[in-house]
Subunit: 258 residues, 2 copies
Amino acid sequence: MKNLPSAARQAQIRERFAGGPGVSVSELAREFGVSEMTIRRDLAALEGQSHIQRTHGGAMLTQRMMLEFDYRDRRELHRKQKQAIAAAARKLIQPGQRLILDNGTTSLELAALLKDGQHLTVITPSLAVASELQHTPGVEVILLGGVIRRGSPDLTGPVTENCLELFAADFAFQGADGIGHDGAIYNTDLRLARVDKIMRRVANKSCLLADHSKIGATALVRSGTLADVDIFITDTGAPAATLKRFAILGPQIITVKP
Amino acid sequence: MKNLPSAARQAQIRERFAGGPGVSVSELAREFGVSEMTIRRDLAALEGQSHIQRTHGGAMLTQRMMLEFDYRDRRELHRKQKQAIAAAARKLIQPGQRLILDNGTTSLELAALLKDGQHLTVITPSLAVASELQHTPGVEVILLGGVIRRGSPDLTGPVTENCLELFAADFAFQGADGIGHDGAIYNTDLRLARVDKIMRRVANKSCLLADHSKIGATALVRSGTLADVDIFITDTGAPAATLKRFAILGPQIITVKP
DNA sequence: AAGAATTCGAACAAATAAAAACATTTACAC
DNA sequence: GTGTAAATGTTTTTATTTGTTCGAATTCTT
């Protein structure tokens, strides 16, 4: 392989990257019959325009870098139920809708089900949801602003609330940390509770997702009651009598079996 | 396995982890035909990027769960200059200030320098900056809301702009994709340009960070001129005559040598 | 718990590669 | 041909990476 114009040689070098993790300067110099200095100059030129990154001794494709946000994955707990509940929620969604997903694990399961490429807009304060959907072609992800809680992959605070006010969505999907027998909805965090409240207000319809283990549990803050939500999805582990009482408060109740 | 440049070898090592929970130093040394010391150094480097966690006799994947926002890492390009520029910018910052950092790689280098725990508030549309600072005790990170650009770890759009308007900061630090000889500031993306413009407005002082390779370059959108910024930091590779002309436009000019 | 066997990390030396400066060739226009 | 600019090669200097040795630390074995 000899006497190539420099541009052609650089194009050839680019092909090289398909083969392996990287190429070495000395190897390329030998193959093209040019000096190593020339190869270095080629690589320097390619580095600017193409997605390669120079290294000592050669070059490689630019690394896909990942941003790491700490994240305690609590998805395992009652995961079956949560997935079933998410699947039921998925059925409520029509193409073209604007959805709000909160930062619960059930919402995250729902996000995973949105990957089949319908045209959707997802508004969320959850970095986990955003991460899940970032590469999904049909879905536009709008991340709400806010303060990053240490050790929690989501955004809360006045900024988040303010951001949320900008939107009008078709559906809000949210979880809860507890649902009292009187239908009160509880959250463990005040800031999350405030955000949840606003979500319900800016969405046309709101949908509460909670497996049966949450029924009867309470937590720090009351963010509202079942009377504020339009649809409540839970699993068949929930006692029928309680659900009957809940229904009187207003929401349509959907039970799924895991 | 043939001789690979060190960076390529480290990338290969990372692949190894896909197969199992861990790898051993001796095994890797044999496979790559290098000394164990070299492998240890590789592992130490990878550990520094927190991709892996070292163990006696080898290494394993980091335990903690992470959210992956992946993107092409361009940090290596002119990194020396960018780090020097970031260091100069760091000196401008006083404890207690509220800072805006944009989504350039130079801002990311600056973020890394803020880790020494002063009391600071950082407002940014960059997931990379947020990720970098999320564990820093003295720093509160406020992530702006917005649309996640595919393949880019940052937020833009009307929501971002609206979010920004909520704030008043002491300093805005931003990069540029090009600076014309007439002092015009260029960005490759219209939405980023709009965001940059607002940043300058809501910050008391604005500071442009750009290595000399940007001088003379142009890009799609003009986001403003040097007359709009208070401080311009670049490296000593910039031609003195040009800098003199820039100074007439108003900004204080700081040059650092890499 | 003590001793043996690994493994690690620091220090230094050797090898290798990059960058800078300068010389040479090539390509092309006139 | 000759001048000029771009590209390539050479040489020297500088920086990075790797290998080796050896004492310290860690794990395993008994």
